[in-house]
């Protein structure tokens, strides 16, 4: 996840893709973050709108037993990806905390993911 960035290669690779000033390392970190943010966001909606009603209204915890822990572990991956991106793009610490917490709030993770991507890719 936190593969080291060689300053030399990342500096030379920054011209690789047109329309983007991002180094390949940052673009990789951003892609990882975007994928896991989307997965965690969907997982949270499944947890909230499928598993929880089944458990608390339908008295059937079987979906919850799978989705609950799965979401937890995926959220860990989300945290790792977010932290990795934070280190590469020099976010402030409050920014890291906000993006990390956005992954726990339904729908907000999608918004945070879009905002992050827009900010990082506009050149």
């Amino acid at each position: 996840m936190t593969s080291p960035v060689d300053p030399a290669t990342s500096a030379s690779g920054s011209q690789a893709s047109p329309g983007s000033s991002l180094t390949p390392a940052i673009r990789g970190a951003l892609t990882r973050y975007r994928v896991i943010a989307y997965v965690v966001g969907v997982m949270l909606l499944v947890l909230l709108f499928v598993a929880m009603p089944l458990k608390y209204l339908g008295d059937d915890p079987s979906a919850m037993n799978v989705v609950g822990p799965l979401h937890g572990f995926l959220y860990m991956v989300y945290l790792l990806a977010t932290f990795d991106l934070f280190r590469r793009v020099r976010w402030s610490l409050p920014r890291l905390v906000l993006v990390a917490l956005a992954g726990t709030i339904p729908f907000l993770s999608f918004y945070a993911e879009r905002k992050t991507t827009h900010e990082l890719t506009r050149s």
Binding site: P4, I26, L80, V89, L93, T116
Partner: protein, 290 residues
């Protein structure tokens, strides 16, 4: 080498080039963040312990629920020609019938009650079989279940003699003991372990693949005329709330992750100050301000 990050140099005073890492970590910013990280990690660890407690109480409740269920007749729980289903172990059952003769009894040695060595008395209870004869008239062996009637200090104890007449008992279903007792078959009627596979060769009945550990019988016997009742073996653990075990581990991993992040950030800040002191451009390359 990881990309140089984010925080401005923590001190503007000139430093010797080889500034030790602990000097960076001891600055107010990083010490304060460490305390914050420790506090967060502590709360997360407590949450993990709490989730583990939830799992324990769910499991205890599920385990106790089985032993607390109302007694049902043994025959309704599972048939005599089937293996003991695991969900029947620990259930309380009622059985009616007549005790088999003393000659059919089995004793299980090395059983302690109140620090006294003694024996469990295991007696076949011949089941009532509707309108059919209990006896052997049609060549079919009688059906029976092996009942742990209780404990006696010695095999010759008169209390071990089974009473005659019809009896209705309540007790808990117990499985064969797991302990290997391969030598038991040659030891006559005093065995070391309570196992249906051994006992099935020692009695002339069709027997259930389970024991019933006697709790009460009707008609009741005087306490000194019957083997001392032994407690039912603890029922198998019914795991419930495994989800909470996963949550517990997740909280602990989050706690560790919080501390790890702090360490990572201190290292980054430390390298960043080193780079600045060297007037090196490394810190600025490869990054984009967000």
């Amino acid at each position: 080498m990881p990309v140089a990050p984010t925080t401005e140099p923590v001190s503007t005073a000139p430093q010797p080039p080889a500034r030790p890492l602990w000097r960076t970590a001891l600055t107010p910013r990083w010490t304060g963040l460490l305390l914050l990280a420790l506090a967060i990690a502590a709360v997360m660890s407590v949450l993990g312990v709490w989730q583990l407690d939830v799992y324990r109480s769910k499991t205890d409740a599920a385990t106790a629920k089985r032993a607390e269920a109302e007694p049902v007749s043994l025959q309704s729980l599972f048939p005599i020609d089937a293996g003991l289903p695991s969900k029947a172990v620990g259930r309380r059952v009622t059985v009616t019938g007549t005790w088999g003769p003393a000659a059919d009894q089995i004793f299980v040695s090395d059983r302690r009650v109140n620090d006294r060595d003694g024996y469990w008395v295991v007696t076949p209870l011949l089941l009532e079989q509707g309108s059919q004869n209990v006896g052997n008239t049609d060549g079919q062996p009688s059906e029976a279940v092996m009942v742990v009637r209780g404990w006696v200090a010695a095999v010759e104890d008169p209390a071990a003699t089974p009473p005659s007449g019809s009896v209705a008992i309540t007790g808990a279903v117990a499985a064969s003991e797991a302990q290997d007792a391969s030598g038991d078959a040659s030891k006559g009627r005093v065995l070391q372990s309570l196992r249906i596979p051994t006992i099935v060769h020692l009695v002339d009945y069709r027997i259930y693949d389970a024991f019933v550990v006697l709790a009460s019988s009707t008609p009741a016997l005087a306490a000194d005329a019957a083997p001392a009742i032994v407690p039912a073996p603890s029922p198998p653990t019914d795991h419930a709330g495994l989800r909470n075990v996963a949550y517990a581990f997740q909280w602990w991993i989050f706690a560790a992750f919080t501390l790890w992040m702090w360490g990572r950030m201190v290292l980054d800040a430390h390298r960043s100050t080193e780079a600045d002191q060297d007037d090196d451009a490394i810190g600025a390359s490869g990054t984009v301000s967000a």
